[in-house]
């Protein structure tokens, strides 16, 4: 993925959540995470991403 492509996807994600509104965004992110896990099709990788994303959450 190029920087420009990453930018584009990032902006699409932000705009989609903006349109859904703050209260629906938590569920949206949960659904997105499930779809990404399913597409990843790699339980070890998914578990490692869950660990990475939860690391230092207290300070984020």
């Amino acid at each position: 993925m190029t920087d420009t492509e990453l930018d584009r996807v990032y902006t699409l994600l932000c705009k989609t959540m903006t349109d859904l509104g703050e209260s629906r965004s938590q569920l949206f992110l949960a659904r997105f995470a499930l779809l990404a896990i399913e597409r990843l099709d790699n339980p070890q990788a998914a578990e490692s991403l869950i660990a990475d994303a939860s690391e230092d959450m207290a300070n984020a």
């Binding site: 990453l6 959540m17 903006t18 965004s25 300070n59 984020a60």
Partner: protein
């Protein structure tokens, strides 16, 4: 904490108003430029370079005041070099190549702008706008016969007709009118001409507000772009710090949505925030405020920069966000694109449809600038909870997952390639190359030697079109000289530059590419050629060039 304002370390010369004589007002001007900022002055200098005189109308009595543009890009410096004003920019300006971003206490991004040994100019210099204008004005004052500046003069009405334009002007001594063939609207973000002609800006205005503070402080900290997200000294805010010449520092910080901007820029509210930022950065020297203001990002443009005989340029034509430093730089690029085209039309060297390509190319450039500028703005001033939430995610992951740090990159301005321009000729020839600048691109910089002296590719650009011919030896085949002579008889100036890998004789003006690096950079073989416009963009290129096709490309582009 009481802080007394100090003046900028700069004394602007004051110019008085005058009333033109009846003979002067009776003479119809070829070009009147409204607005004496960086854009208006660059258009006037660009016209003068082509031998076209202009009248420049400026409302103030000298160069600007306050904190405005501060970063000048390599592309702008290249243009300013051609305008004969570069020396001051390099002597006074502070050159820099990169920057760092922090999230709380951690560095999350270090970026570098493109820089290598081939370059003649730094990727960026920091310089206050009053100095930018002063150096351009100094150059304008060296050609008084070609640039006639009317100071302290405001435009009150404009009558733009198919056959010419009448401007009503007013200054402290009285009122007068000027007739012009062409008018350049370089009158800034609140353009009077835009309003009077009912031209509409379209796009987005952002709500996020920044306080801009200029301070005076001694520090030997290097010149770089510093960004602080949620710094301990200013929790929840985003702060930008830029060093300027003469101990001036520019600090920009984001206001919370619930803060009143009127209150926020009062010194009793500004001083503690600045002090805590300086404490955090480890700056111990005393400081004094010079200026404060409020900034809101806009991403707005006119849909057409040509309105008959009126041509919009710079902030009058488009407002681009501050983040990525595309404001003054895109305006200087507008001026460079417009000046030669307007000069060619005034001199009868091109049909006036050439001015439509000014609008085509620069509206395209604005859309490119806005797409990058919008991304930077959405990161620097998140327009919704979602952008704010995602930004926190990026910043908190960037140290351990550096691939994400590209999302923090400020995407600084860079030269724009006019990929879709109707001016581009022989586009299908691009396919024969595996590198080098395509049609519509600017020239990548390279080192050459001309008559034993060091030179750069961009130094060799002529006032008119330039053909860079990549030869077997130092001599250019006579058919090229003959084509140049045929063009000269049609009043078209063409400079022939031969680039060769063989060492030329001392008397030759050919450019020696001693290590073959320029051949490689342009993916050239003996017999290849690049035809370049007066603004340094490639008009056409051929792997195996023929003089007749070069000649035809110029005449077709100019529609004559």
């Amino acid at each position: 904490m009481v802080k007394e304002f100090q003046p900028y370390p700069f004394k602007a010369k004051q110019y008085s108003a005058r009333l033109p004589t009846p003979e002067q007002t009776a003479k119809r001007a070829k070009v009147v430029i409204v607005g004496g900022g960086p854009v208006g002055l660059s258009v006037a200098l660009g016209l003068a370079r082509q031998g076209v005189a202009s009248v420049l109308i400026e409302a103030d009595d000298g160069v600007c005041f306050g904190s405005r543009a501060i970063c000048i890009s390599r592309r702008s410096l290249e243009i300013i070099d051609r305008l004969g004003a570069l020396d001051g920019f390099l002597q006074t300006g502070l050159a820099w190549t990169g920057g760092r971003s922090f999230y709380r206490n951690e560095e999350v991004l270090a970026f570098k702008m493109p820089q290598d040994d081939n370059q003649k100019l730094p990727p960026m210099v920091n310089l206050a706008q009053y100095s930018i204008e002063q150096f351009l004005l100094d150059a304008a004052e060296r050609v008084p016969d070609l640039i006639d500046i009317h100071w302290q003069t405001r435009m009150t009405a404009i009558d733009a007709r198919p056959d010419g334009v009448t401007l009503s002007l007013s200054n402290p001594l009285g009122e007068y009118q000027l007739e012009a063939d062409w008018v350049v609207a370089g009158d800034g973000g609140r353009s009077t001409i835009r309003e009077l002609l009912d031209a509409k800006l379209v796009g987005t205005s952002y709500e996020g507000r920044y306080v801009i503070v200029d301070i005076l402080m001694e520090s030997d900290r290097p010149t770089e772009r510093l960004a602080f997200f949620d710094p301990p000294a200013n929790p929840g805010s985003t702060v930008l710090v830029h060093k300027q010449p003469d101990n001036v520092w520019r600090i920009d910080y984001q206001l919370r949505d619930d803060e009143d901007p009127e209150e926020a820029i009062k010194m009793e509210n500004v001083a503690p925030r600045v002090q805590s930022m300086l404490d955090m950065m480890g700056e111990r020297n005393p400081w004094a405020p010079i200026w404060t203001g409020i900034y809101k990002a806009n991403a707005l443009t006119l849909e057409n920069y040509r309105h008959g005989r009126v041509l919009f340029a710079g902030d009058a034509a488009h407002l681009v966000p501050i983040f990525g430093v595309r404001g003054a730089n895109s305006g200087i690029d507008d001026a460079d694109n417009l000046a030669w085209k307007l000069a060619y039309v005034v001199q009868g060297k091109a049909s006036d449809s050439l001015l439509d390509t000014y609008s085509d190319e620069r509206v395209f450039a604005t859309h490119e600038n806005l797409s990058y500028g919008t991304k930077s703005t959405e990161f620097m001033a998140p327009p919704s909870f979602a952008f704010q939430l995602m930004r926190t995610a990026v910043l908190s992951l960037a140290v351990k997952h550096p691939a994400l740090s590209q999302l923090i990159n400020p995407r600084q301005t860079s030269a724009i390639t006019y990929t879709e321009s109707p001016l581009n000729q022989e586009q299908e020839e691009n396919a024969a190359f595996n590198g080098g600048p395509r049609t519509g691109a600017v020239l990548p910089e390279g080192r050459l030697k001309v008559q034993g002296k060091d030179a750069h590719v961009t130094d060799l650009l002529g006032v008119g079109f330039t053909l860079y011919f990549f030869g077997d030896g130092a001599a250019i085949p006579s058919a090229w000289e003959q084509a140049a002579q045929r063009l000269a008889r049609k009043d078209q100036e063409l400079r022939l530059v031969t680039v060769t890998r063989e060492q030329p004789e001392a008397s030759s003006t050919a450019a020696w590419d001693s290590d073959g690096s320029v051949f490689a950079l342009y993916d050239a073989a003996p017999g290849s050629a690049y035809l370049v416009r007066p603004d340094g963009h490639v008009l056409a290129r051929w792997k195996k060039a023929q003089p007749e096709r070069m000649e035809a490309a110029i005449l077709k582009a100019l529609n004559v």
